[in-house]
Subunit: 161 residues, 4 copies
């Protein structure tokens, strides 16, 4: 608890543009594309904030980081051309697994998508879980949720279960 209440913990934030390619015939984001955005966001977070790129994980080490569970609420539609504010915060970290809260907000700050995903670090050849390296774990902890905002989002996620 001590570490989670560290006032310096912050979520990872990134702006995303809703592209033509993301939208469906109804003119709004096609939901599987949100999941592609989730994946790219996690990819960016690993590379930029955790200094442990997917390229190193997948190509250099022969490991993998599959998503094993996903819960998403599509709260309101996003339209072509909008900028969304994406946020990742860490909910839980186990030996090999990582539970993330991901949310996208519209330009007016209202929620568009709220998700929770569970990732597991594996050795690909044997398809077996392996421990998250210590230095990566230390960096991950900086994003562990403790702010009122993340509590709210945890509460919302709870409610929807």
């Amino acid at each position: 608890m001590a570490e989670t209440s560290d006032p310096k913990t912050v979520p990872y934030r990134k702006q995303l543009l809703v592209r033509f390619a993301d939208c469906d015939a109804a003119g709004i984001v096609f939901y599987p594309r949100y999941l592609e955005m989730f994946n790219s966001l996690v990819e960016d977070w690993y590379r930029d904030a955790l200094q442990f790129s997917f390229t190193e994980i997948v190509t250099t080490r022969g490991w993998g980081l599959p998503t094993v569970r996903l819960e998403v609420d599509f709260v309101a539609p996003s339209v072509f051309g909008e900028y969304l504010s994406a946020t990742i915060s860490v909910r839980e970290i186990g030996t090999s697994s990582l539970t993330l809260d991901i949310s996208f907000q519209g330009p007016d700050g209202s929620d568009r998508v709220r998700g929770k995903i569970v990732l597991v670090l594996i050795e690909r050849r044997k398809h077996k879980a392996i421990p998250i390296p210590h230095d990566v774990r230390r960096r991950i902890l900086k994003f562990k949720a403790a702010s009122p905002n993340s509590t709210r989002s945890a509460a919302l996620a709870k409610k929807s279960e």
Copy 2:
């Protein structure tokens, strides 16, 4: 309850081929593509079994059928070239909403993906929920889960929550 125990209710089944386009650099299905498969499966079910095609819903009527919630367990990876057995069964039907259990099994019958999705029928212009038409509702009920198999899958889904 009477209607759900109707021994003639059956899930909707379809064979899916894992295509080159579905796989990622790790040689397995990229998870957002599973969600695209979910969407195509629901599209096929609506057209073939419910006789209420997305074309009619979206193009003719100006309605929409957005996915508002999604829970998925990615149990085991699927590789390029495999045929998956996809199954839809109805868990709940509300006035405008529909909760579906979707699962994909590998050629050996083992689970690959187990998901639950909630869809809502809306009038697109006002983005407002509208009642599922009676004849469509009647056809949907034929797929309402009551078999031991679907009970098992509900139990599994429960456990993973």
Copy 3:
């Protein structure tokens, strides 16, 4: 030349459904998705007609079949829910390369997309061209264009160059 004028040579044909996932915010097929359809069509042709599946090529043998050149005319838009008639015919076959004419027609028989793609069989590790196996070559020749229809499509492609 004798073999190409074989009256029994026929194009490979397949029906394709324009899915929700294929359409963009303008309600028509997003052009990169046509290329994904091209790829899936070639995948189906290899598996079903040439008995040389991508799985065998890529997974078993460690080979690859990259597209090295592409020319496509997007003649008219296709809308969500339409069935397109897809056709592959062989324009040229070299030692390692294969030039295909691919066309998609709408329900009324009018052209939607006309493309020419060049594929090369390679050994992936060395990224080096390798000869197309004899039995596969023999099956490919059955699809070599000689019919008036394919001549027409070649003429059209010519005109557009």
Copy 4:
């Protein structure tokens, strides 16, 4: 000709990251994803350099900018995690149509993809070509190729025809 030899004309340049989602089971960019990158690049160029966003074109004005012809040479594969240098230069501008040279180069400056695409500005409801607005045309001309580099790429494109 005077305007095309304007020494201040420059191509539009952008760095692109090859993402996990872009790669196929062979670990390299799946070619339809290159076309999606083309589309996003054109989208960025219109918004950032031409000040005529797709959102304005598609959503506000009810127009469209379909790609009507495409020629692409996939010169060498790109792998996951690479940064590509993307370049757009204008080859020709007609009343309603625009021919662009698009190329992607790897980190070592070698060509990966060289393409030519033809776009047409249309009024969507009637699916009829409309003239490119004057101010947009003026901005487009700033990207008309006249540099040795673009001549070379035009020559290469020519050779491959």
